[in-house]
């Protein structure tokens, strides 16, 4: 049972973000790409927030977000992208897929902690 799912192909980012969230009291699950993210989300109904990279092998984060809404039919989980990308076109695609927000790396946990808490407790 996890509250937040962190999806990133980089083990460094998974460790950094995952450890920060755990230290701040969240239950965290990890996935290595979009395909793995879909599987983990499908298997854990407690997940309230997905924090995902965009560029990943097998399945990118935006495709995963679209499939969360369409194939899984999950309209409730909040999705936030954590990426080096800052392209308006990508953000528009994310908005169309119903993502909640966008963070440009590097990850600064203190800047987003309060919002993450609100999204998990909603």
């Amino acid at each position: 049972m996890a509250q937040i799912l962190v999806v990133d192909d980089s083990s460094t980012v998974r460790a950094e973000v995952g450890d920060f969230l755990k230290k701040n009291g969240f239950d965290v699950a990890l996935a290595v790409d979009g395909r793995d993210g879909l599987t983990k989300l499908q298997g854990d109904a407690a997940i309230k927030l997905v924090v995902s990279d965009v560029n990943m092998p097998n399945m990118d984060g935006l495709t995963m977000a679209e499939k969360i809404r369409s194939e899984l039919g999950n309209a409730k989980v909040s999705i936030i992208m954590l990426t080096t990308e800052n392209s308006p076109l990508m953000k528009e695609r994310g908005k169309a897929a119903g993502i909640k927000g966008w963070i440009v790396k590097p990850f600064k946990g203190d800047a987003v902690l309060a919002t993450f808490k609100k999204l998990v407790e909603a």
Binding site: S10, T12, T84, V104, P106
Partner: protein, 185 residues
Amino acid sequence: MLSQSAKDGFDTLLMQSLKTSLTPSGEESGVMVIAAEDAEAIADSQIVVLTVSSYLFRAMVMFYFTPNADTRAHFARLNHLELDAMSEQTFMDAIAEGGNLCCGILNRDLGNFFPHIGMSTPNVIDKQCASYLQKLNCEHIQHFAVEMPQSPRFYVSLCVSTYADIDFEVDANAAASETGELELF
């Protein structure tokens, strides 16, 4: 052809992104990025290489490193990882992520001038490959040294190939783009 202003622009943007990406948070003020003369003098054994490309150019960025104790300690500190718990795979991933983050910032900032732009994933190659840089017919090659307290000196090479005339100007005094903030939709 790459104008002198464009060459300076590539250099400035890479130097700014190096300060952000290779430095532990809060230690940016102690970092110096300076031009280095010759890649042949760089003693490191391996390179993380990434490219940032548009229809008009390809910028290749190479991060030299030696997988020793000092480098491991730096990347553990940079990524808030436990040094003793860092496996070889985690170490290599941390170095690759450092390059990824740096070029991500470069990619984003170049996007202000070139809307259609993309970035590769990081690859690790042997330092001997650097001897073939001239074969790429780059119009602009610049090496940098990154110096920061409590860390080894890192070297980085930038090689830019062009497919058209390129001219743009970067304001070196402009504030760097905000990162890490959550933009809610």
